[in-house]
Symmetry: C2
């Protein structure tokens, strides 16, 4: 309840202080610090009132939903694309040190890195109980994924650990930075924000294709090997990408991490009915810990420090 | 801090309201309800002042440390002894349905039953966070004990589950009842209280020996098979029994459950150095969850409902 109220204030203050027009002359090197003040104490509502008329023009092309942009706005969009590119490339190299189930387990480090970077970069403080809940979320998700060969991950060589930690930091930073970009202009249309995020994603991936797979694409064509399943997976990824951007805009990375974790558990439960999956005792224990974590996160909001 | 204060008040009020003399004429059938009022609102300190002189006589034989007792005091002591006897006998029968590692896992149900009975019988309310911590303690201890064959426990037949639940309830009830007995007379010497607890334990066990092992004891003698290890184990059990009774008198069953759980984790860590034990990933995850649980229990005290 209280948290909801804080978030609404954020949006109002954002609409007042961070409108495109008012930011046009600001330094392009300070996008994050602008966002960090979203939850600040400013009670200056006059700008908000001035912009009210503008926000009501929600039909046709307006300043908020037009595709054209400024260097100031667009200059930060390549950053998450570049971070995800590096992280995705690392993903190929880490398998020299870790097997696939081990990698699934190490991926849970994302939860901790997202929490740390969320607090550091967005300056939104998590309460002590919420931090406890976050550690439990990480431990619970890992427990739920345990299988008899999981202990192999403890024999991961230090290069594997370093890569896993770097990947978790890159992924966490990219997520938090995307939230900062999207939240920086709360009145800006989300589809336009997605457009610019994906444009740079496409550019970087095109470069990666040119470097890594140029011959294969030239000989067999770009769509070689595409099946119905491939197309469905692309659609699925595109839709979940849009959903994630909405979570970034209207909620935050913490909600995203919880949603992803609960989705993992629900996927396992659905797999019982669809594929006759066998749920382990570890899954029940991990699910219990994740459930308590969700509960603690929600009651932690009420006592959170501001 | 606040909890400590409440506890101190309990002791004072106990010393005032539940002195042996003043209880001598009370009904012997209401030992628990007396204890349940220990945390009550009574501010009547006059009796406390009257008894102050008596409490200071702490040398030689006094009313508090003399071994002789009244029917009122002693009548409740056989109850925990009987409960533990039934629980220990059930332990032989449950192995028809569960293997030893499975039983270790089911034993963690004790944690939940102790929490439920503690709140129901001693009427000390655990806060919401403390309940969350208690569920985590149970899940974390079980996780720490996971091994590749743990999933067998999910195939336990319903008779095994029922016996495990009954054993957990008996053990939880015996623990909480012992705390009620010991706390009922806060000024009574703890060694005397232990004496009477163990007298009935010995009587019940003597009966069990007569019924189950009469021939063996007659033919081979009572001490047949005793080795140095046996004697050391008896000493160890005796000392830990005295330690537990002190926890019951000066702390409570919740502290006992946490202490037992943390001791289990420490035993595993010590075993790494002594016996070259191999710690599993599940152990690290379970230990993490238990650690967060201990932390949450302690901050839960500050916000606990009274």
């Amino acid at each position: 309840m209280e948290y909801r109220k804080i978030k609404d204030e954020d949006k109002d203050e954002g609409a007042a202080g961070d409108d495109i027009e008012s930011l046009r002359n600001k330094s392009i090197s300070a996008p994050i610090s602008n966002v960090a003040t979203l939850g600040g104490e400013s009670n200056d509502r006059s700008k908000w009132k001035r912009n009210l008329g503008k926000n009501l023009e929600n039909e046709g092309v307006t300043e908020d939903n037009r595709l054209s942009t400024t260097l100031d706005e667009v200059s930060v969009y390549p950053i998450p694309a570049a971070l995800y590119l590096v992280k995705n490339l690392l993903q190929y190299y880490i398998f020299a040190y870790v097997d696939a189930p081990g990698y699934q387990i190490l991926k849970n480090l994302n939860i901790i890195s997202t929490g740390v970077l969320y607090q550091m970069i967005l300056k939104r403080k998590l309460s002590e109980i919420q931090w406890a809940a976050f550690i439990l979320l990480c431990a619970g998700c890992t427990t739920a994924q345990l299988n008899p060969s999981s202990d192999h991950v403890l024999q991961t060589p230090y290069q594997g650990w370093i890569m896993a930690i770097v990947m978790a930091l890159l992924s966490g930073f990219a997520g938090v930075y995307t939230e900062a970009i999207i939240k920086k202009r709360p009145s800006r249309n989300i589809n336009v924000q997605n457009f610019w995020l994906y444009v740079f994603g496409m550019v970087f991936n095109a470069v990666a294709i040119l470097i890594q797979d140029f011959d294969a694409v030239m000989n067999k064509g770009f769509f070689h090997g595409y099946s119905l399943i491939t197309v469905l997976m692309i659609l699925n990824h595109a839709l979940s990408g849009i959903a994630v951007s909405m979570v970034m805009k209207y909620a935050d990375n913490i909600v995203k991490v919880y949603a992803t974790s609960v989705a993992m558990l629900l996927t396992a439960i659905v797999s019982v009915f669809l594929f006759g999956f066998h749920l382990s005792l570890a899954f029940f224990l991990g699910s219990t810990v994740v459930s308590v974590s969700v509960y603690l996160h929600s009651i932690g909001k009420l006592t959170r420090q501001r």
